[in-house]
């Protein structure tokens, strides 16, 4: 019985410890076996399992299992295995150990039954994942990693503040439905929102993910944002604000994605777009909508992982990832190209691919619940997804103009990992019932009706037609080596530009004030220095010199006395004379 209550993150942390002290083939075996064994264990754990103990008057539920957390638990295990396989050739202890710890933290977070446990894993996610960025070992990656870490830890601090408020009000830290009502719920909402890449808070995704190592980005894309989606689905389903936030998230990144040159950054933007669909689903909050949101998260981990893997393979083999520097790679990497196109078809939601069976649930829910405007905008962004992720990624990497790069297929483990993800994408698309049986609600939804298949196919083919037409008319914006401004401009350019002069002025004023003050202090010190023990006025003198001074004084006194005496005698003489004169006068009378 105790085996079922073994928290699912424990095998990952043990695996990471073993990986730290092993080498070579043994370590590779540990890396691959950890998610497999942990996943097999998780399959035996029934919904409703709870491992809890008391801590400072609060019930800590370190491991609480229900259908929603199990779904995320399963996909995190699959993702961890695929990521590990994809990164198997890497000989870097830092990446491999932090990769396992990171996956373990994500698993721990989705099985956290109380807010305090969630907070611990929330912060662990940030701290363990940043090494996947720093492992690139360039100055750019170092700085991007620092920015990433600051934002992630900030999210954790806000979460902690919210938890403290929440515990004070509710006298409980159970992680359940919260809903937007008081300060505590807003703080927790914002903390989730940062990790979920809400608009204006999204920039860490597009800033940091493209700077990570080719394999590190695949890890990053799978876990952090999906944990946030899970947390929102648990705590804020049916919050109408999320519909608006989600629609904005689905729409604005596709514009950036069209003009972005770094293909992994394009994928990062398209990731925000996909999370937008999930957030809309959570915001609508009906059984169908939440099902759509979490199943889309499940599928997104697979197809976005597949796309990031294919671009990671390109970066690994060519050392380049900019659309303007790639092209024609289908000639030498045909297998990678085909696998990439499977991912592209899945994210674009072609019938028979995984995106089709989950995205449509959110769309239908939007229509059924009176969000017609949201549906129209989501439809637009669904067409846009195909445009930037479905066509642009494979086209500029593998086709377009021939860049002259001649390379080979990536290592076998990379191809194998991509193949697994691709097979899963198609399998879920062809047989969605397998995924639907894992969903938290039973809605009897069927994606394959004639209307849906026809309309979706029409939408996508005419998006492709638009791409072809724009290219033939030479209206399509060429890939240019460039940087596009986003929210990060505020904290990378504007704040330094304002704050640097401000601080310069501040330091100048500070210097002046301190100068005045120091002059005052120096003056006082000068006075004191005359009176201090060694000062000029309180030095200890030799008694001999004192005697000289005394005798000198006495001599002067004597001299003065003598002068005085003489004058006194003269004065006295006159008076004596006058005095003596008096009796004579008397006598004379």
């Amino acid at each position: 019985m105790w085996m079922a209550e073994l928290p699912a993150f424990v095998p990952f942390f043990i695996g990471a410890l073993i990986a730290l002290v092993t080498k070579g083939k043994l370590r590779q075996a540990v890396l691959l076996l950890t998610p497999v064994l942990s996943g097999l264990h998780l399959l035996t754990v029934p919904a409703g399992t709870i491992l809890s103990f008391n801590f400072l008057n609060f019930q800590l539920e370190v491991f609480e299992v229900d259908k929603l957390s199990l779904l995320f638990g399963y996909i995190f295990h699959i993702a961890a295995f695929i990521c590990m396989l994809f990164a198997l050739h890497v000989k870097d202890t830092l990446q491999q150990v932090s990769g396992l710890l990171y996956a373990g933290s994500a698993v721990g977070a989705v099985f956290a039954g109380d807010l305090l446990t969630l907070f611990v894993f929330w912060e662990l996610l940030a701290v363990t994942s940043v090494f996947l960025i720093w492992a690139r070992r360039t100055e750019r990656a170092y700085l991007a990693g620092l920015r990433y870490l600051i934002i992630q830890v900030l999210s954790g601090v806000i979460l902690l503040a919210g938890i403290i408020f929440y515990a004070h009000v509710h006298q409980s830290i159970d992680f359940e439905f919260i809903g937007l009502n008081d300060t505590a719920s807003w703080l927790i909402f914002i903390a989730f929102g940062i990790k979920c890449a809400f608009p204006m808070l999204h920039n860490w995704v597009t800033d940091a993910y493209p700077e990570a190592t080719p394999t590190g980005t695949v890890f990053l894309s799978a876990f952090t944002t999906k944990v946030a989606v899970y947390a929102l689905a648990r705590a804020y389903p049916g919050t109408e604000l999320l519909v608006y936030i989600g629609v904005i998230m689905a729409c604005f990144p596709i514009f950036f994605a069209v003009i972005e040159n770094d293909l992994r950054r394009v994928l990062a933007y398209s990731m925000i777009n996909q999370i937008g669909f999930m957030v809309v689903g959570i915001g609508i909050g009906t059984a169908l909508a939440v099902n759509g949101a979490v199943s889309h998260a499940f599928n997104d981990i697979l197809f976005k992982g597949l796309l990031f893997m294919s671009m990671g393979a390109v970066l690994h083999m060519t050392g380049k990832i900019d659309g303007s520097r790639l092209g024609g790679l289908y000639k030498t990497m045909p297998k990678t190209a085909i696998l990439c196109m499977v991912g592209a078809a899945s994210i674009s939601a072609f019938p028979l691919f995984s995106g089709f069976v989950s995205k449509s649930m959110v769309m239908s829910a939007a229509l059924n619940n009176g969000y017609g405007w949201a549906w129209l905008l989501l439809l637009f962004s669904a067409a846009g997804v195909f445009h930037h992720a479905g066509i642009k990624i494979p086209y500029f990497a593998f086709f377009a103009h021939d860049s002259g790069i001649r390379t080979t297929e990536p290592p076998k483990n990379m191809l194998f990992a991509m193949t697994i993800a691709a097979v899963l994408c198609i399998a879920i698309g062809v047989y969605p019932q397998a995924l639907y049986s894992l969903l938290p609600f039973d809605t009897g939804y069927n994606p394959y009706d004639a209307t849906h298949v026809l309309t979706q196919t029409q939408l996508l083919f005419f998006s492709a037609l638009a791409f072809v037409w724009l290219n033939l008319k030479k209206m399509y914006p060429p890939e240019l080596p460039s940087v596009n401004l986003d929210i990060d401009w505020f904290y990378r350019r504007l704040f330094p530009a304002i704050l640097t002069p401000f601080f310069n002025m501040f330091w100048a004023i500070d210097r002046a004030v301190r100068g005045v003050f120091m002059r005052g202090v120096n003056g006082v010190l000068g006075i004191i220095s005359r009176h201090e023990p060694d000062g000029i006025l309180s030095r200890t003198q030799l008694s001999g010199s004192m005697v000289i001074w005394v005798s000198m004084l006495l001599a002067v006194f004597l001299l003065l006395t003598l002068i005085e005496l003489k004058q006194s005698f003269l004065f006295l003489g006159i008076h004596l004379q006058s005095l003596l004169d008096i009796p004579s006068q008397l006598w004379c009378r």
Binding site: L143, P334, F380, A383, Q458, F461, S463, A464, L470, S482
Partner: protein, 125 residues
Amino acid sequence: MANHESNNNSEKKYLFDNPKNVKRILYGLYVCCAVLVLLEFVIHRHIYHSWEDLFAFYPIYGFIGCVLLVLVAKWMRTFLMRDEDYYDKLEKKQHPAPAKSESTADADSESNQAEQKQGGNHVDG
């Protein structure tokens, strides 16, 4: 696609080196698009939203949506686009002197390679 490390002159022809194959793909796309529109006459669509009443709503919406998307994004470049080293020259401590205006394609790819060597390379191997 076995041996392709050889010279450019003797390199084998690949699938899309032949413009005819590109044409074939494009014609395939056009035919698919036409068939999909014609299918509207055969398949009765369920209508959930008033806009869907319009004949060929999805093809029109998809096409116009994408054209607008690209044109707006292109316009956004006019005020969002900056040099590649826009942030680097401020943030990186050991940033090399910014490359001169790269006129020829040769110089372009050369400096790119240099940059990749210096900055953007992967570490695993």
